[in-house]
Protein backbone atom coordinates (compact mmCIF):
# COMPACT_ATOMS: atom_id res chain seq x y z
CA UNK A 1 0.00 0.00 0.00
CA UNK A 2 1.26 3.43 -0.78
CA UNK A 3 2.68 5.26 2.19
CA UNK A 4 0.33 8.18 2.28
CA UNK A 5 1.80 11.38 3.55
CA UNK A 6 0.32 14.62 4.75
CA UNK A 7 -1.00 16.54 1.86
CA UNK A 8 1.02 17.92 -0.98
CA UNK A 9 -2.00 19.22 -2.83
CA UNK A 10 -1.97 23.01 -2.92
CA UNK A 11 -4.80 24.69 -1.10
CA UNK A 12 -7.60 25.84 -3.29
CA UNK A 13 -10.99 27.39 -2.92
CA UNK A 14 -13.61 24.82 -3.66
CA UNK A 15 -16.89 25.70 -5.24
CA UNK A 16 -19.93 23.61 -5.94
CA UNK A 17 -19.62 23.50 -9.74
CA UNK A 18 -16.10 22.12 -9.45
CA UNK A 19 -17.16 19.53 -6.87
CA UNK A 20 -20.14 18.60 -9.01
CA UNK A 21 -17.85 18.07 -11.98
CA UNK A 22 -15.57 15.81 -9.94
CA UNK A 23 -18.42 13.71 -8.67
CA UNK A 24 -20.09 13.46 -12.06
CA UNK A 25 -16.87 12.26 -13.66
CA UNK A 26 -16.15 9.73 -10.96
CA UNK A 27 -19.59 8.40 -10.19
CA UNK A 28 -21.00 8.50 -13.73
CA UNK A 29 -24.38 9.33 -12.34
CA UNK A 30 -26.77 12.22 -12.17
CA UNK A 31 -25.73 14.88 -9.65
CA UNK A 32 -28.62 17.03 -8.51
CA UNK A 33 -28.51 20.56 -7.17
CA UNK A 34 -30.14 21.26 -3.85
CA UNK A 35 -31.42 24.52 -2.44
CA UNK A 36 -33.46 27.33 -3.93
CA UNK A 37 -33.84 27.52 -7.68
CA UNK A 38 -31.15 29.77 -9.05
CA UNK A 39 -29.24 29.71 -5.78
CA UNK A 40 -28.14 26.14 -5.17
CA UNK A 41 -26.39 25.51 -1.90
CA UNK A 42 -25.50 21.88 -2.28
CA UNK A 43 -25.41 18.70 -4.31
CA UNK A 44 -27.20 15.41 -3.95
CA UNK A 45 -26.93 11.90 -5.34
CA UNK A 46 -29.75 9.42 -5.01
CA UNK A 47 -28.73 5.87 -4.15
CA UNK A 48 -31.12 2.94 -3.85
CA UNK A 49 -30.87 3.20 -0.08
CA UNK A 50 -30.50 6.89 0.65
CA UNK A 51 -30.07 10.42 -0.61
CA UNK A 52 -26.50 11.60 -0.06
CA UNK A 53 -25.91 15.33 0.07
CA UNK A 54 -22.91 17.65 0.01
CA UNK A 55 -22.53 21.28 0.94
CA UNK A 56 -19.66 23.65 1.63
CA UNK A 57 -19.55 25.29 5.03
CA UNK A 58 -17.58 28.41 5.90
CA UNK A 59 -18.82 28.90 9.46
CA UNK A 60 -15.67 27.60 11.17
CA UNK A 61 -12.09 28.87 10.80
CA UNK A 62 -11.44 25.90 8.54
CA UNK A 63 -13.68 25.64 5.46
CA UNK A 64 -15.37 22.27 5.41
CA UNK A 65 -17.13 20.08 2.93
CA UNK A 66 -20.05 18.49 4.76
CA UNK A 67 -21.44 15.15 3.63
CA UNK A 68 -24.86 14.40 5.03
CA UNK A 69 -27.70 12.00 4.63
CA UNK A 70 -31.06 11.73 6.28
CA UNK A 71 -31.44 7.99 6.25
CA UNK A 72 -34.75 7.28 7.87
CA UNK A 73 -37.63 8.93 9.70
CA UNK A 74 -40.57 8.31 11.98
CA UNK A 75 -38.95 5.72 14.23
CA UNK A 76 -41.64 3.74 15.99
CA UNK A 77 -39.37 2.50 18.77
CA UNK A 78 -38.75 5.97 20.03
CA UNK A 79 -37.20 4.95 23.31
CA UNK A 80 -34.56 2.98 21.47
CA UNK A 81 -33.49 5.83 19.25
CA UNK A 82 -31.04 7.71 21.48
CA UNK A 83 -29.32 4.59 22.87
CA UNK A 84 -28.95 3.21 19.35
CA UNK A 85 -27.59 6.49 18.05
CA UNK A 86 -25.09 6.59 20.89
CA UNK A 87 -24.09 3.04 20.10
CA UNK A 88 -23.65 3.86 16.41
CA UNK A 89 -21.57 6.91 17.25
CA UNK A 90 -19.29 4.87 19.43
CA UNK A 91 -18.69 2.47 16.55
CA UNK A 92 -17.99 4.93 13.78
CA UNK A 93 -14.67 6.71 13.64
CA UNK A 94 -15.73 9.77 11.72
CA UNK A 95 -18.91 11.78 11.53
CA UNK A 96 -21.94 11.56 13.76
CA UNK A 97 -25.46 10.20 13.83
CA UNK A 98 -28.13 12.36 15.40
CA UNK A 99 -31.87 12.80 15.62
CA UNK A 100 -33.56 15.74 13.94
CA UNK A 101 -37.05 16.96 14.71
CA UNK A 102 -40.12 17.85 12.71
CA UNK A 103 -40.29 15.26 11.38
CA UNK A 104 -38.22 12.98 13.58
CA UNK A 105 -35.47 11.60 11.38
CA UNK A 106 -32.08 10.03 11.77
CA UNK A 107 -29.24 11.84 10.07
CA UNK A 108 -25.60 11.03 9.50
CA UNK A 109 -23.09 13.82 8.81
CA UNK A 110 -19.36 13.97 8.29
CA UNK A 111 -17.08 16.85 7.39
CA UNK A 112 -13.88 17.09 5.38
CA UNK A 113 -11.36 19.92 5.44
CA UNK A 114 -11.85 21.66 2.12
CA UNK A 115 -8.52 23.36 1.35
CA UNK A 116 -6.69 20.28 0.09
CA UNK A 117 -9.50 18.24 -1.33
CA UNK A 118 -8.97 17.01 -4.84
CA UNK A 119 -11.09 14.77 -6.97
CA UNK A 120 -9.47 11.54 -5.87
CA UNK A 121 -9.76 12.31 -2.19
CA UNK A 122 -13.26 13.62 -2.43
CA UNK A 123 -14.46 10.52 -4.21
CA UNK A 124 -12.66 8.30 -1.69
CA UNK A 125 -14.34 10.05 1.22
CA UNK A 126 -17.68 10.15 -0.57
CA UNK A 127 -17.62 6.38 -1.06
CA UNK A 128 -16.47 5.81 2.48
CA UNK A 129 -19.31 7.95 3.81
CA UNK A 130 -21.75 6.09 1.58
CA UNK A 131 -20.64 2.72 2.95
CA UNK A 132 -20.88 3.88 6.55
CA UNK A 133 -24.29 5.40 5.95
CA UNK A 134 -25.64 2.20 4.44
CA UNK A 135 -24.19 -0.12 7.08
CA UNK A 136 -25.38 1.85 10.08
CA UNK A 137 -28.42 3.38 8.45
CA UNK A 138 -30.03 0.07 7.58
CA UNK A 139 -29.41 -1.26 11.07
CA UNK A 140 -30.82 1.88 12.67
CA UNK A 141 -33.83 1.81 10.37
CA UNK A 142 -34.61 -1.79 11.25
CA UNK A 143 -33.96 -1.56 14.95
CA UNK A 144 -35.97 1.61 15.42
CA UNK A 145 -38.66 0.41 13.01
CA UNK A 146 -38.35 3.59 11.01
CA UNK A 147 -39.23 4.37 7.42
CA UNK A 148 -36.45 5.11 4.96
CA UNK A 149 -36.28 8.75 4.04
CA UNK A 150 -36.46 7.91 0.34
CA UNK A 151 -39.75 6.18 0.97
CA UNK A 152 -41.01 9.19 2.86
CA UNK A 153 -40.02 11.44 -0.03
CA UNK A 154 -41.51 9.12 -2.60
CA UNK A 155 -44.81 8.24 -1.01
CA UNK A 156 -45.26 10.52 1.92
CA UNK A 157 -45.58 7.34 3.96
CA UNK A 158 -45.14 7.94 7.62
CA UNK A 159 -45.79 11.63 7.44
CA UNK A 160 -49.28 11.07 8.73
CA UNK A 161 -48.05 9.16 11.72
CA UNK A 162 -47.60 11.04 14.94
CA UNK A 163 -44.05 12.26 15.31
Amino acid sequence: MADLQPTSVPAQRLDLPLVRQWLAEALQTDIEWTGPVGHPDGLAVTYPTHLQQLRIQDRLPLPLVVLETTFCAFPRRRRDVLPLLAQANSQIERGRWFLQRDPPRLTYAMELPAPHLDRERLVREWQRFCNEAVVFGIELTLRTRAVTWLEVLRTGKGSAQPG
Binding site: T7, R59, R121
Partner: protein, 258 residues
Protein backbone atom coordinates in the same frame (compact mmCIF):
# COMPACT_ATOMS: atom_id res chain seq x y z
CA UNK B 1 15.24 0.62 21.43
CA UNK B 2 13.40 3.86 21.75
CA UNK B 3 14.87 6.96 20.24
CA UNK B 4 14.26 10.24 21.94
CA UNK B 5 13.64 13.11 19.59
CA UNK B 6 13.85 16.66 20.79
CA UNK B 7 10.82 18.48 19.63
CA UNK B 8 11.38 21.69 21.49
CA UNK B 9 12.36 24.71 19.50
CA UNK B 10 14.82 27.30 20.72
CA UNK B 11 12.09 29.88 21.15
CA UNK B 12 9.64 27.42 22.65
CA UNK B 13 11.10 26.14 25.87
CA UNK B 14 9.03 23.26 27.13
CA UNK B 15 9.46 19.63 27.89
CA UNK B 16 8.22 18.54 24.51
CA UNK B 17 10.13 15.36 24.00
CA UNK B 18 8.64 12.76 21.73
CA UNK B 19 9.76 9.18 21.90
CA UNK B 20 9.95 7.49 18.57
CA UNK B 21 8.52 4.03 19.12
CA UNK B 22 7.09 1.45 16.83
CA UNK B 23 3.83 2.55 15.29
CA UNK B 24 1.73 1.37 12.37
CA UNK B 25 1.89 4.89 11.03
CA UNK B 26 5.01 5.92 9.15
CA UNK B 27 7.71 8.05 10.72
CA UNK B 28 7.16 10.72 8.11
CA UNK B 29 3.61 11.21 9.30
CA UNK B 30 4.67 11.44 12.94
CA UNK B 31 7.39 13.92 12.02
CA UNK B 32 4.86 16.03 10.19
CA UNK B 33 2.49 15.93 13.14
CA UNK B 34 5.25 16.95 15.54
CA UNK B 35 6.07 19.88 13.30
CA UNK B 36 2.44 20.97 13.25
CA UNK B 37 2.19 20.67 17.02
CA UNK B 38 5.27 22.83 17.42
CA UNK B 39 3.55 25.36 15.22
CA UNK B 40 0.72 25.61 17.74
CA UNK B 41 3.18 26.95 20.32
CA UNK B 42 1.56 24.79 23.00
CA UNK B 43 3.43 22.31 25.18
CA UNK B 44 2.70 18.73 24.23
CA UNK B 45 3.74 15.37 25.56
CA UNK B 46 3.88 11.92 23.98
CA UNK B 47 1.28 9.34 24.86
CA UNK B 48 2.70 5.84 24.97
CA UNK B 49 1.08 2.45 25.01
CA UNK B 50 2.82 -0.80 25.84
CA UNK B 51 0.94 -2.54 23.08
CA UNK B 52 0.83 0.02 20.33
CA UNK B 53 3.90 2.12 21.07
CA UNK B 54 3.51 5.78 20.32
CA UNK B 55 -0.20 6.47 19.98
CA UNK B 56 -0.11 10.22 19.98
CA UNK B 57 0.46 13.39 21.91
CA UNK B 58 -1.50 15.28 24.48
CA UNK B 59 -1.96 18.98 25.03
CA UNK B 60 -3.11 20.09 28.47
CA UNK B 61 -5.26 23.17 28.23
CA UNK B 62 -6.87 25.00 31.09
CA UNK B 63 -10.19 23.27 30.64
CA UNK B 64 -9.39 20.00 28.92
CA UNK B 65 -6.79 17.48 27.96
CA UNK B 66 -6.71 16.99 24.23
CA UNK B 67 -5.22 13.86 22.75
CA UNK B 68 -3.86 14.01 19.20
CA UNK B 69 -3.02 10.78 17.51
CA UNK B 70 -2.51 8.99 14.24
CA UNK B 71 -4.08 5.69 13.37
CA UNK B 72 -3.58 3.57 10.31
CA UNK B 73 -6.64 2.75 8.25
CA UNK B 74 -7.06 0.93 4.93
CA UNK B 75 -7.44 4.27 3.17
CA UNK B 76 -4.38 5.73 4.89
CA UNK B 77 -3.43 7.38 8.16
CA UNK B 78 -6.10 9.28 10.04
CA UNK B 79 -5.54 12.12 12.47
CA UNK B 80 -7.69 11.92 15.58
CA UNK B 81 -8.42 14.65 18.11
CA UNK B 82 -10.03 13.58 21.36
CA UNK B 83 -10.97 15.78 24.29
CA UNK B 84 -12.38 14.26 27.46
CA UNK B 85 -14.77 16.90 28.75
CA UNK B 86 -15.97 15.27 31.94
CA UNK B 87 -15.64 12.10 33.95
CA UNK B 88 -18.60 11.40 36.16
CA UNK B 89 -21.83 13.35 36.04
CA UNK B 90 -24.64 14.26 38.39
CA UNK B 91 -27.40 13.76 35.84
CA UNK B 92 -26.37 10.80 33.77
CA UNK B 93 -29.97 10.17 32.77
CA UNK B 94 -29.77 13.42 30.79
CA UNK B 95 -26.64 12.32 28.99
CA UNK B 96 -28.16 10.76 25.88
CA UNK B 97 -30.37 13.77 25.25
CA UNK B 98 -27.56 16.23 25.81
CA UNK B 99 -25.23 14.28 23.55
CA UNK B 100 -27.79 14.06 20.78
CA UNK B 101 -28.51 17.78 21.02
CA UNK B 102 -24.78 18.49 20.84
CA UNK B 103 -24.30 16.25 17.84
CA UNK B 104 -27.11 18.06 16.10
CA UNK B 105 -25.34 21.37 16.68
CA UNK B 106 -21.78 20.30 16.01
CA UNK B 107 -20.08 21.31 12.82
CA UNK B 108 -17.05 19.15 13.45
CA UNK B 109 -16.53 15.74 14.99
CA UNK B 110 -18.89 14.04 17.40
CA UNK B 111 -19.72 14.10 21.07
CA UNK B 112 -19.54 10.64 22.56
CA UNK B 113 -21.20 9.34 25.69
CA UNK B 114 -19.13 6.61 27.29
CA UNK B 115 -21.07 4.81 30.02
CA UNK B 116 -19.23 4.56 33.28
CA UNK B 117 -18.41 4.40 35.90
CA UNK B 118 -17.27 7.02 35.57
CA UNK B 119 -19.41 8.06 32.64
CA UNK B 120 -17.62 10.35 30.22
CA UNK B 121 -18.41 12.90 27.57
CA UNK B 122 -15.76 13.01 24.89
CA UNK B 123 -15.47 15.25 21.87
CA UNK B 124 -13.87 13.32 19.06
CA UNK B 125 -12.86 14.34 15.56
CA UNK B 126 -10.99 12.39 12.92
CA UNK B 127 -9.67 13.56 9.58
CA UNK B 128 -7.72 11.78 6.86
CA UNK B 129 -4.16 12.94 7.26
CA UNK B 130 -3.67 13.63 3.59
CA UNK B 131 -6.30 16.36 3.79
CA UNK B 132 -4.17 18.42 6.15
CA UNK B 133 -1.06 20.51 6.22
CA UNK B 134 0.38 22.65 8.98
CA UNK B 135 -1.89 25.60 8.32
CA UNK B 136 -5.09 23.60 8.02
CA UNK B 137 -4.15 21.53 11.08
CA UNK B 138 -3.90 24.72 13.12
CA UNK B 139 -7.29 25.84 11.80
CA UNK B 140 -8.74 22.44 12.57
CA UNK B 141 -7.42 22.62 16.11
CA UNK B 142 -8.87 26.11 16.52
CA UNK B 143 -12.21 24.92 15.17
CA UNK B 144 -12.14 21.99 17.57
CA UNK B 145 -11.61 24.32 20.51
CA UNK B 146 -14.49 26.47 19.33
CA UNK B 147 -16.83 23.49 19.10
CA UNK B 148 -15.62 22.33 22.48
CA UNK B 149 -16.57 25.64 24.05
CA UNK B 150 -19.75 26.33 22.13
CA UNK B 151 -21.28 22.88 21.98
CA UNK B 152 -19.33 20.51 24.21
CA UNK B 153 -19.40 22.38 27.48
CA UNK B 154 -23.10 23.24 27.42
CA UNK B 155 -23.61 19.48 27.22
CA UNK B 156 -21.31 19.05 30.22
CA UNK B 157 -23.32 21.63 32.13
CA UNK B 158 -26.54 19.89 31.17
CA UNK B 159 -25.37 16.60 32.68
CA UNK B 160 -23.63 18.17 35.67
CA UNK B 161 -20.29 16.78 34.53
CA UNK B 162 -17.20 16.57 36.67
CA UNK B 163 -13.75 17.76 35.77
CA UNK B 164 -11.96 14.94 33.93
CA UNK B 165 -8.98 14.93 36.26
CA UNK B 166 -10.80 15.54 39.52
CA UNK B 167 -14.03 13.67 40.13
CA UNK B 168 -14.83 15.86 43.12
CA UNK B 169 -14.82 19.12 41.20
CA UNK B 170 -17.92 19.96 39.21
CA UNK B 171 -17.33 21.92 36.06
CA UNK B 172 -19.32 24.75 37.57
CA UNK B 173 -16.34 25.73 39.68
CA UNK B 174 -15.52 29.21 38.37
CA UNK B 175 -11.90 28.88 39.41
CA UNK B 176 -11.49 25.83 37.28
CA UNK B 177 -13.79 26.12 34.36
CA UNK B 178 -13.12 28.85 31.83
CA UNK B 179 -16.01 27.53 29.87
CA UNK B 180 -18.14 29.31 27.42
CA UNK B 181 -20.83 30.65 29.67
CA UNK B 182 -23.13 31.84 26.97
CA UNK B 183 -26.27 32.67 28.93
CA UNK B 184 -28.49 31.64 26.06
CA UNK B 185 -26.98 28.16 25.98
CA UNK B 186 -27.30 27.73 29.70
CA UNK B 187 -30.86 28.97 29.74
CA UNK B 188 -31.70 26.43 27.06
CA UNK B 189 -30.03 23.71 29.07
CA UNK B 190 -31.80 24.71 32.22
CA UNK B 191 -35.10 24.91 30.44
CA UNK B 192 -34.53 21.41 29.15
CA UNK B 193 -33.73 20.15 32.61
CA UNK B 194 -36.29 22.01 34.66
CA UNK B 195 -39.14 19.85 35.89
CA UNK B 196 -42.62 20.92 34.92
CA UNK B 197 -43.66 21.57 38.47
CA UNK B 198 -42.08 21.41 41.87
CA UNK B 199 -38.39 20.93 42.36
CA UNK B 200 -37.86 19.78 45.89
CA UNK B 201 -36.08 22.92 46.92
CA UNK B 202 -35.55 23.44 50.60
CA UNK B 203 -38.66 24.29 52.50
CA UNK B 204 -39.03 27.99 53.05
CA UNK B 205 -37.13 28.97 49.95
CA UNK B 206 -38.96 31.28 47.62
CA UNK B 207 -38.83 31.52 43.90
CA UNK B 208 -36.49 34.30 42.91
CA UNK B 209 -38.07 35.12 39.61
CA UNK B 210 -41.59 35.04 38.27
CA UNK B 211 -40.53 34.04 34.81
CA UNK B 212 -41.72 31.21 32.71
CA UNK B 213 -39.19 29.06 34.49
CA UNK B 214 -40.25 30.13 37.93
CA UNK B 215 -42.18 27.64 39.97
CA UNK B 216 -42.45 29.21 43.37
CA UNK B 217 -39.19 28.09 44.84
CA UNK B 218 -35.58 29.20 44.68
CA UNK B 219 -34.09 26.07 43.20
CA UNK B 220 -31.43 27.33 40.84
CA UNK B 221 -32.89 25.46 37.95
CA UNK B 222 -36.08 27.40 38.38
CA UNK B 223 -34.60 30.79 38.93
CA UNK B 224 -35.33 31.91 35.40
CA UNK B 225 -33.16 33.70 32.88
CA UNK B 226 -32.32 36.34 35.45
CA UNK B 227 -30.36 33.67 37.23
CA UNK B 228 -28.02 33.39 34.32
CA UNK B 229 -26.50 36.80 34.52
CA UNK B 230 -22.93 37.84 34.02
CA UNK B 231 -21.00 34.96 35.62
CA UNK B 232 -18.07 37.15 36.39
CA UNK B 233 -20.06 39.50 38.56
CA UNK B 234 -19.70 39.28 42.30
CA UNK B 235 -23.00 38.00 43.67
CA UNK B 236 -22.84 40.26 46.67
CA UNK B 237 -22.17 43.26 44.50
CA UNK B 238 -25.09 42.24 42.37
CA UNK B 239 -27.25 41.97 45.43
CA UNK B 240 -26.26 45.44 46.41
CA UNK B 241 -26.70 47.05 43.03
CA UNK B 242 -29.23 45.18 40.96
CA UNK B 243 -32.97 44.89 41.23
CA UNK B 244 -34.01 42.36 43.86
CA UNK B 245 -35.10 39.63 41.48
CA UNK B 246 -32.10 39.95 39.25
CA UNK B 247 -29.63 40.13 42.11
CA UNK B 248 -31.07 37.07 43.78
CA UNK B 249 -30.97 35.29 40.48
CA UNK B 250 -27.32 36.08 40.13
CA UNK B 251 -26.61 34.79 43.56
CA UNK B 252 -28.49 31.61 42.76
CA UNK B 253 -26.46 31.21 39.60
CA UNK B 254 -23.29 31.70 41.56
CA UNK B 255 -24.37 29.04 44.05
CA UNK B 256 -25.01 26.64 41.24
CA UNK B 257 -21.57 27.28 39.78
CA UNK B 258 -19.94 26.61 43.10
Amino acid sequence: MATVIRTSTPDHDCACEAIDLSSPVSDACWRALRGWLQGLQLPFEPTLSEDAGLVGYSIALRNSLIGIGLTERPTGPVLTLTAVLCRGMDRETAALGAVDRANRQLALGQLLYVPGPPAELTLHAAVALDLLDGESFALLFEAMLGELNNVGFPAVMAVGGYHPTDYAAPWGDPMRAPIDDDPDDIVQDLQALAPRSGCGAAQGDRCSSQTDLGCGCSDTLHAGPAAVADPGQDPQAATASGPPDEAEGRAAHSRRRR
